[in-house]
């Protein structure tokens, strides 16, 4: 099972059938599989903040939801996390293609990519960085368990070292 299939298995294990995303070339390796799988409802949002709102609505109505985005767009989602997810306590796992690391070619991606973890820390929200697929099944399962136990959002950051996707 490759890293994308591991993510899909984990989402199913945790009864998470609503997936809201803003397109990204690397996470497309996962979202394209989700799009083909009738278990999921894949929803395209225009902006990451909107994606968080849609996911919260789905959770509030009883259907667990996850969000996929790129690190640049994470910056657009901060107020939704701070003023909706945290006070209302919503377990929304965020799968973030983390730009700005080894292999990055675009200067405009570096600052926001490197700010993701500090911002999550400032918000008091858990996060994990996946550099390779070793023990990935245990980490993903544990992250989902923590997300629901804490009833707060959580970031699972996917790096180029993991997905090998082109960074364009």
């Amino acid at each position: 099972m490759n890293w994308a299939e591991e993510i899909i298995k984990t989402l199913k294990d945790w009864d998470t059938s609503m997936v809201v995303y803003v397109p990204d070339i690397s996470i497309h390796q996962v979202t394209s599989l989700i799009d083909e799988d009738p278990y999921f409802r894949l929803v395209s949002a225009t902006r990451e903040e909107e994606a968080i709102g849609i996911a919260v609505g789905s959770y509030a109505a009883g259907r667990n939801a996850a969000v996929f985005m790129q690190s640049s767009g994470f910056g657009n989602s901060v107020n939704a996390l701070a003023s909706l997810c945290i006070p209302a306590r919503t377990p929304i796992p965020m799968f973030i293609n983390l730009r700005g690391g080894p292999g990055e070619f675009n200067i405009a991606q570096v600052a926001m990519g490197r700010a993701v973890i500090p911002i999550m820390d400032q918000l008091g929200l858990p996060h994990f960085i996946l550099e390779d697929d070793g023990k990935m099944d245990r980490l993903l399962d544990g992250a989902m368990k923590l997300c629901h136990a804490n009833r707060q959002p959580l970031a699972i950051c996917l790096t180029q070292m993991l997905h090998g996707g082109k960074l364009a």
Binding site: M18, V20, R41, V43, S44, A45, T46, R47, E49, E50, I52, G53, I54, A55, V56, G57, S58, Y59, A60, A61, G62, R63, A65, N79, A80, A82, S83, L84, P87, A88, R89, T90
Partner: protein, 190 residues
């Protein structure tokens, strides 16, 4: 048309249908109109009221009502496009349009300078739209929306008439009791 009287009307017509309300006065007035477990009050995340309602509408077959505002919709107009893209049959968006940012000093909003939110909705592929200016037309529009396949998008022009007291709402409890109308409450060990 005053927002509170319009909110009372929508709350009465909604029956048991979930209602999501925009932050500030829209949430306060929904609470004063009659608190119910299926009211989802927001007090932050400006712009996301109808996004939250869209997520609900895709998670359930029940009718979902969003009580949004002009300033809020303007902040996240992309979600009107998402509603047009997804075409949820069970979603009715009502925009309280006072053509201003009432709580920040009454500055004129873009709808007061020509932006027509009904036309925005139409251009996003939402076929069932209406702009109403009085309670009678609002009642007709909402009554029809709740028994007709949507999505429905109703712009309700309102006048500001002062603010009510802030509702005693805790966001965590709002979500908990709202969600528990859809799922079994968490049990020990869950």
């Amino acid at each position: 048309m005053r927002r509170f009287e319009a909110t009372q009307l929508v709350s009465r017509l909604a029956g048991n249908a979930p209602i999501v309300s925009n932050l500030g006065p829209s949430s306060d007035e929904l609470w004063h109109a009659g608190h119910r477990d299926r009211n989802f009050y927001t007090y932050g995340s400006m712009g996301l009221c109808s996004s939250i309602a869209l997520g609900m509408a895709m998670a359930t077959d029940e009718q979902i009502i969003s009580l949004d505002g002009d300033g809020s919709i303007l902040m996240n107009m992309g979600t009107v496009a998402s509603i047009g893209r997804e075409q949820p049959k069970n979603l009715t968006v009502i925009v309280w349009d006072n053509e201003k940012w009432g709580q920040t000093g009454g500055q004129t909003s873009h709808t007061g300078m020509g932006t027509d939110l009904e036309k925005v909705a139409q251009s996003c592929g939402i076929a069932r739209t209406k702009t109403v200016t009085d309670l009678e037309d609002l009642e007709a529009a909402v009554s029809e929306a709740l028994v007709t396949d949507g999505p429905n998008f109703i712009v309700a022009k309102i006048e500001e008439a002062g603010y009510m007291s802030i509702a005693p709402v805790e966001p965590e409890f709002t979500l908990y009791r709202f969600r528990n109308t859809f799922v079994e409450p968490r049990q020990p060990g869950d």
